[in-house]
């Protein structure tokens, strides 16, 4: 790993990872389950995710000179570390495949409906190929550039939809059951915080100004969740809940009604770049995570092998995505949401397990 990383650019990665599962997954699911109480679920979900995020910061402090794989190798037996590392690699590749699948089906459903899906997937994969053969620093630079673009787009969307805001869209208040609000909140917490744990592939000591690390990470996490809340809030303020629940991509549908002074309209295609940025960054992060995990577990030091490994992982992801790319409309079968949820829950628990055991071992 490179020591050119600073905590600011590192912590900004949270913004993309936190929201990568929003499009076509978390947003429609939460609105379907908790309906008009979704904004409460987002707040409760944030509080739950805060607990996991503190765990993440603690995990960074354990053997801070080692990456997560290093920590596992250091504190566990070889068979167990083999199991945990490879389980995580599989989950991360599955996560990347799912993200790429959602993004390609979004592009196909909403505007490139005449273009063959293979071409759409390959087009989206190009920047992923480029970033994945490079290291984490390149990804952070790309993310820092995109961060400002993302901020501008979210604020523009928020302002653009202002004339369409209707408080009645939040009504009736508190009519959904506590169970559905909690279900929705837990999904929010797991699906937003789990991808952030992928950052543990970078040892804390590799970050140049690690004194302010915790503070910047916390600020970035809170900021990212505020932006997440703003996205949910904006959708709910501008569209009626019955309308939201009809669309697979309500975040995109809401953008369709932007019309500023009868002059700026039909900007949904530009505004939806936001999701391309977040998902592309998250897929790249997954690939880099898998690549460095393999590299570190098998102690590969050759740069050429590392690049080949990156390309191989992207090809594996493409091989998973291409056959399922046409399966676009699925959300009515709500049970399909169980797959990413349990997958990411296992990922999250594996991190927490490693954290607890490592802490205990260090104490003893």
């Amino acid at each position: 790993m490179n020591k050119q990383l600073n905590s600011t650019s590192f912590s900004l990665m949270i913004s993309a990872l936190n929201k990568c599962l929003f499009l076509g997954l978390l947003i429609p699911y939460m609105f379907k389950i908790s309906k008009t109480s979704t904004f409460i679920s987002v707040i409760v979900g944030f509080v739950i995710s805060l607990f996991f995020f503190v765990m993440l910061l603690l995990l960074f402090n354990v053997n801070s000179n080692l990456s997560f794989v290093g920590k596992v190798k250091n504190n566990f037996s070889k068979p167990f570390s083999f199991f945990v590392t490879h389980l995580q690699i599989v989950i991360v590749i599955m996560l990347a495949s799912m993200l790429l699948w959602r993004l390609s089906s979004f592009a196909t459903n909403e505007y490139l409906y005449e273009t063959p899906i293979i071409l759409v997937v390959l087009l989206i994969s190009l920047p992923i190929f480029y970033i994945s053969v490079n290291n984490f620093t390149v990804l952070c630079r790309f993310n820092t550039l995109c961060f400002m673009a993302g901020l501008v787009i979210i604020i523009f969307n928020f302002i653009g939809l202002l004339p369409h805001y209707d408080v009645n869209n939040f009504k009736p208040f508190f009519t959904d059951s506590f169970g559905s609000i909690l279900n929705s909140a837990i999904h929010y917490a797991v699906l937003t915080v789990s991808p952030v744990f992928l950052l543990t592939i970078v040892p804390k000591n590799d970050i140049s100004d690690c004194k302010s690390f915790n503070k910047k990470m916390m600020i970035s996490f809170v900021y990212s969740n505020i932006m997440g809340f703003l996205i949910f809030f904006t959708i709910q303020m501008s569209l009626h809940i019955d309308l939201i629940n009809l669309y697979t991509y309500p975040a995109f549908t809401a953008l369709k009604i932007i019309n500023l002074s009868n002059f700026i309209d039909s900007v949904e295609n530009i505004s939806s770049i936001l999701w391309y940025i977040y998902i592309t960054l998250a897929v790249c992060m997954c690939v880099i995570y898998a690549k460095f995990s393999i590299k570190e577990f098998y102690s590969i030091s050759n740069n050429r092998y590392e690049k080949i490994l990156g390309i191989a992982i992207v090809i594996i992801i493409l091989l998973i995505v291409l056959p399922i790319a046409n399966m676009s409309y699925y959300l009515d079968k709500i049970s399909i949401m169980k797959f990413p949820f349990y997958m990411l829950l296992i990922l999250l628990l594996s991190y927490l397990f490693v954290l607890i055991i490592s802490k205990l071992k260090n104490k003893s």
Binding site: E110, Y111, Y113, E114, T115, L119, L122, L123, L126, F129, Y130, V133, N168, K171, P172, T175, L239, H240, D242, L243, L246, T253, K256, I257, N259, D265, S266, K307
Partner: protein
Amino acid sequence: MKKLFVLLGCLFLLSGCFNHRELNDLAICSGLGVSYSENKYTLTLQVVNTSAFDAKSSNNNASFSVYTEEGKTIFEAINKISKELSKEITLTQLKVIIIDDSAILDNLGSLVDFLMNDLEVSLNVPVVTSLKSNPKDVLSVITPNNEINASYISSLIEVNNSKFGNAYPIELSSFFVDYLTDYNNIMLTNVELKESSDIEDNNDVLKNTDNASTLYIDNPIVFNNETVYKLNLDESIVLNTIENNINDNSLTFDCNGGNFSIMVLNSKFGFSKFENNNIYLNGNLKGTVNEYNCSWDLDDDQTLVKLENVIKNSFYDMIDNAFNKSKELKLDFLEIGKFIYNNYTDEYKKIKDVNISLVDFNIVNKISVDLTKQGNLRGDINE
């Protein structure tokens, strides 16, 4: 490796021209009209005549053409028109959708399904109806200054809504919500054609038109499963008042032997609570006297109070009449059901059909009126 990526990049980026659509090959639709009879949709499309806007050509072509076809589905009818035009039809620039009462009452589900599924139709397009005329006739009218008819209708709605309170502007997204929710009745602005006898009285209108008809906005129409009812002007004003949609409107009231007009500066109305089968309506209206022709002395401080009372009483009467009509017809055009659902969901659930139970409700008004100005004059000119 880098060269390979550049080549790959070129290959994929240049494929952006895949399935491209030339502007000249598109039929750009500005208006869409739908009616339904004998299990068939009649679809009318108003297509922009791009050559009419060509600066080089000196022709006097109409700015649009109108095409009508029938089909078992809307898509089939669109395809027939597309075949006739030999162009691909695009609905991205739609300015108005006119839905005939036949399509609303008989087979609205398929139409909503089509509009929701179409990726090109903007959710901001105004949706209107025409009670007396059919969509084809409305979309075929040539407007003053050869303006595109659909844009003209759109401006008409805007002007009528901001000045006269007889329009009820509904955009496609709200139309969908009205269709999806069981507590809302579908209400639409009514665009009509003037009778030829009306037009003869107004020669100015004829100066710029090639057609013997012209368009106007009539009072809104409310639809139930079987019923179609046209609101009268007072009911329309009450509806827009409750929706807080009458700012800048001019209202005229009778006074002691004459009448006076006010312009509404600010109006805030709304249902406040639902208790013991009573709906409470609170409101405040601020306005300025624009024209005065009453026998009371406007210089007298008490006159403004008297005028305020006149306005207040008129509003009480208008609201009571509208509410009673709503009860009589079992049509919830004051959107009371929506208020109860949003704020008293449990009670709403007990009431299976809010329209029927409206019969048992009473309305309790509490309205205040502030006439803050007397216009430009210091006193009464008729003094």
